[in-house]
């Protein structure tokens, strides 16, 4: 039986180690979460090896021959054993609880002098506001090795912010603020994934997260600020990629969303009133093959008049033209 258990244990260890069960860990928090993961894995693998060893052995050893009418040994219980298998799991889960609790306080510790980014979820897009430069972007950019506090909220329904390589996740809830601390440790491009079902475009609610050097980040922030200062069609393009591109295809902006209609088709040759109305009252006219109530109806509140105008200008300039 020990042999069977050991064989299962070795097989499990190989499965646990040889298959990369976790994505790269690219934040300080991820490394700590992974430690908890491995701690739990060792305990669980040992228990599973024990259970599998005993049951495989018992099934092989105590199988009855066909047409056997004997009964097994009348064993009713064993107090010592029962105490052991109550006490040992109790100790193990207490250990997991304590370790998890310690790691939780570590990964949620908010250091002094940290950067803040305000994250807003909205069907079906993310926007990131940087109070430092008073800039809003559709991309999350962070300098490497600096802790940042993400303050999350949502405009319509509950969304959830997740970057698997950072291991951290938190719901963005309308009406309340939640927060999350992340210290990215590796430069690169990541995907922000919405993990809370938020409606028809849930599967496509993604944003880019860029981790860059400090100087790169400062330059990025300045560029974004310059973009925001643009007016007219150029500002409209920025806004479109941030707010509309997840769901709509538009060749000029290079977006390929498929939740809503292809704007190169449905807006070609339309006038400014129609485009404006389609943004603020999307249910007025629904393109054939699409359903009402999918596109958020609150763009009149979310966008300033100037932003709306630039978006309309941009769409009139480009839709169906390339």
């Amino acid at each position: 039986m020990v042999l069977v258990g050991a064989a299962v244990g070795v097989a499990l260890a190989l499965v646990a180690v040889l298959i990369p069960w976790l994505p790269p860990s690219d934040s300080k928090e991820a490394v700590k979460v992974d430690h908890v993961y491995w701690f739990v894995t060792v305990i669980c693998a040992a228990i599973f090896a024990l259970v599998a060893g005993v049951s495989l052995f018992a099934v092989w050893k105590f199988r009855a021959p066909p047409d056997d009418t004997e009964d097994g040994a009348p064993i009713h219980g064993h107090t010592g054993l029962e105490v052991v298998w109550t006490a040992i799991p109790a100790v193990l889960v207490t250990a997991i609880t304590v370790y998890s609790g310690v790691v939780l306080t570590q990964i949620e510790d908010i250091p002094k002098d940290h950067r803040v980014v305000e994250v807003t979820g909205q069907q079906f897009t993310w926007s990131f506001h940087y109070p430092d430069g008073d800039v809003t972007s559709g991309q999350l950019a962070l300098p490497v090795d600096e802790p940042v506090e993400l303050r999350l909220t949502a405009k319509d329904v509950i969304h959830s912010f997740w970057v698997p390589e950072w291991r951290m996740k938190k719901d963005a809830v309308p009406g309340i603020d939640t927060d999350l601390v992340i210290t990215p440790t590796k430069q690169g491009t990541y995907t922000v994934i919405c993990t809370e079902l938020c409606g028809l475009g849930h599967a496509t609610m993604r944003a880019q997260a860029l981790v860059m050097s400090r100087s790169g980040f400062d330059k990025w922030l300045a560029d974004e600020k310059a973009k925001a200062a643009q007016a007219g069609s150029a500002a409209g393009k920025t806004l479109f990629t941030q707010q509309c591109g997840t769901c709509h295809t538009l060749a000029d902006a290079g977006t390929q969303g498929e939740v809503g209609p292809d704007l190169d088709k449905v807006l070609a040759g339309k006038n400014a009133d129609f485009v404006h109305e389609s943004i603020v009252n999307p249910n007025d006219e629904i393109a054939s093959g699409y359903q009402p109530d999918v596109m958020p109806g609150n763009f009149a509140d979310v966008l300033t008049d100037q932003q709306l105008q630039s978006l309309v200008d941009y769409l009139l300039d480009t839709a169906g033209k390339s």
Binding site: W21, Y37, F48, A58, V59, D71, T97, S100, G199, V259
Partner: protein
């Protein structure tokens, strides 16, 4: 589908009422009366809403959601009245003569008796099982559609709205119309027999609680036909504010949950009263089979917890129809508050869907290992421990929800503690195998499959109980894998074990053992290949409830889809075996498994009132291998009752 008429036709009152003629066929309880009462109820509901709105000068007159609410309350009530669910009580209320000894609604003489309000717990048990298997197949087909869509990245067969509807209805049907009521059906059939009772404590309530179920299932399925927006598509969790913003289809979830929940509560009350008051003489709690213990714990959970999900869905209904603001942030509501109320039911619901399975596993493993259940009393007490702890862990579904942060660590501690009584059960089942003489019949294969799969589901639950890991894994495919290891590997395997185990008792015929084993192996392999890789998908970044995903997950999803189709096909083997064996299987003896519990001491199927004479219980139900030990003395063999037992009554 014919079930052999029980051989005890001499029982008074079992001849049934004389057939009705002429117009009386349409006024007496039954489907013909439903033919005109249901449209009438529909008209009344519509007239009431339109009339009231016209009188009060509300605009618009035709408010679809208000009408839907009225329809889904009044039409089902009309249906229940029409088929006779309330007839006896109406007689009583109106002061007309009632006959307590009237058993005309009892027992089945032909297949038609399964389609009317029947007060026999054995008929009701079969009604439950056949109905729930129907919804199991329907919900399973929805899973097949989802896997077809998910076989490749991108959108192929369905649009997002349909996809969201499919997974929402799939989960709702599986939970409320399959797992919970399938256990209620097995319990209904077996519990009175196991405790030596002639029927349930409240047979008419029992009949009524069954007939609420098809209503709930019909409402859920019908939601796909709603003209504006189709089925409810906010997941079975139906989180606010998304659910409040959904098209009218969402109302179908709220109302279906009310009907299914009422059915659950009524059945649970019935089980509790039956188990407490109707045990045969000598059947003390420490002599109850563990299945009865498990249903005792489950029923307590149902009675205490189910009102919370009913409440949570009423709140959403009020938000939608009455424009209240409990949870809507726009009106100063607290969105996370909904989740607390929802999970205060829905976590205990996990145990509602698990404890009866524990009971079935204990019965099956003891019988097919030919050994007493190891540590019987600790097994019963661990059920009660799970019952108590089960109410203190709900917020572990909300570690990333933004709820009060302090609540997380206490909830993690209680969550981890539940692993202890659960572990006791697993270790005791293994110890029951030790030194046994194990017979690998189909029920035993499913019970052993359950133990191994449930261990995996339990251990992934330990991962999720740890907050740092949960922060990473929640709302991903890791969760999908975990809940399917618990509810498929756990609940469904034990339901299959239970159905095969009691099939001879219920139908009087043996199932086909070879097909049963084929079903097991197809299910076991298909299940693991389908769900195990989902752990990896989740950890690597695939969120749950998506119709589309990153291209890098394409190959694994393709393998999962292929395996899931094989898993779906295994159900055909099961259905074929059940239908063919029911019609043409070899006649079953009273006790084909040489089991000691009371249900096996009577004929297969049992007499109308179960026992010719109430048995006298004299010992434990699991004394396999103990020379001279008996569980009960039946059929007037009083001389065999030991002296000290004769005075026992309750």
């Amino acid at each position: 589908m014919t079930v052999q008429a029980p051989e005890h036709e001499h029982v008074v009152g079992h001849e049934g009422p004389p057939p009705r003629r002429g117009i009386r066929r349409f006024t007496g309880a039954g489907w013909l009366r439903a033919l005109w009462v249901v449209p009438l109820a529909f008209g009344l509901a519509t007239g009431f809403v339109l009339g009231a709105r016209a009188l009060l000068d509300y605009s618009p007159l035709w408010e679809f959601q208000v009408l839907l609410t009225a329809w889904m309350v009044i039409v089902p009530l009309g249906f229940l009245i029409a088929i006779g669910g309330f007839d006896y009580w109406f007689y009583w209320i109106s002061g007309r003569p009632t006959r307590p000894e009237d058993h005309s609604g009892h027992g089945a003489r032909s297949w038609k008796d399964y389609f009317r309000v029947n007060t026999d717990h054995k008929v009701i048990g079969v009604q439950y099982l056949v109905t729930t298997i129907f919804f199991f197949v329907a919900a399973g087909l929805m899973a097949m559609f989802m896997r077809a869509e998910l076989a490749r990245p991108g959108m192929q067969f369905v649009d997002n709205n349909t996809f969201n509807g499919l997974f929402s209805v799939h989960a709702s049907l599986m939970i409320f119309l399959f797992v919970i009521p399938a256990f209620a059906g097995l319990g209904n059939y077996v519990i009175p027999l196991m405790i030596g009772a002639p029927d349930m404590a409240f047979p008419r309530l029992n009949a009524l609680s069954f007939w609420l179920l098809p209503i709930a299932g019909f409402i859920m399925l019908a939601s796909f036909l709603v003209p504006e927006g189709g089925a409810f598509a906010a997941g079975w969790t139906n989180y606010v504010p998304l659910s409040v913003q959904q098209p009218p289809g969402n109302l179908f979830f709220q109302m279906a949950v009310q009907w299914a929940g009422a059915s659950s509560i009524m059945t649970a009350l019935n089980f509790l009263v039956t188990i407490i008051t109707m045990r045969a003489p000598g059947m003390s709690f420490w002599r109850l089979p563990l299945l009865v213990w498990a249903n005792f714990a489950t029923s307590t959970l149902v009675v205490l917890a189910t009102p919370f999900i009913a409440g949570s869905q009423f709140f959403i209904l009020f938000e939608r129809v009455l424009h209240t603001n409990f949870f809507e942030p726009g009106g100063e509501g607290y969105a996370v508050g909904y989740q607390h109320i929802f999970w205060f039911y829905s976590h205990p619901a996990v145990y509602i869907m698990m404890l009866p399975g524990f009971g079935i596993a204990s019965e099956v493993i003891a019988v097919f290992a030919r050994k007493p259940v190891f540590g019987y009393r600790l097994m019963a007490l661990s059920l009660m421990a799970i019952l108590v702890l089960g109410f203190s862990v709900w917020a572990h579904h909300m570690f990333v929800s933004g709820m009060s942060p302090w609540l997380r660590i206490p909830m993690m501690a209680t969550t981890m503690l539940i692993a202890v009584p659960t572990g006791i059960k697993v270790f005791s089942w293994l110890a029951t195998l030790w030194e046994g003489r194990i017979h690998f019949k189909t029920p035993m294969l499913f019970a052993l499959g359950f133990v191994s799969m449930f261990v995996i589901g339990g251990l992934s639950g330990v991962y999720l109980g740890s907050i740092p890991i949960d922060i990473h894994a929640s709302d991903t495919y890791f969760i999908v894998a975990h809940i399917h290891y618990v509810l498929f590997g756990g609940s469904l395997f034990t339901i299959f074990a239970g159905i095969y185990y009691w099939f001879p008792k219920m139908t009087g015929r043996m199932y086909n053992e070879r097909l049963g084993k084929l079903h097991f192996w197809l299910t076991f392999v298909g299940f693991n290949v389908t769900f195990f890789p989902m752990h990896w998908l989740g950890l690597h970044g695939m969120p749950r409830r998506v119709s589309d995903y990153a291209d890098r997950f394409g190959n694994l999803n393709f393998i999962i889809s292929v395996a899931s189709f094989a898993l779906g096909a295994s159900t055909i083997v099961f259905l074929y075996n059940m239908i063919v064996s029911w019609r043409r299987g070899a006649p079953a003896p009273g006790n084909p498994w040489r089991a000691l519990t009371l249900e096996w001491q009577v004929s297969s199927p049992p007499p109308v009132f179960n026992f010719d004479e109430i048995p006298q219980v004299v010992g434990s139900p699991y004394e396999y291998g103990v020379r001279g030990a008996r569980h009960a003395v039946l059929n007037g063999d009083r001389a065999q009752v030991p002296e000290r037992e004769r005075v026992v009554s309750h």
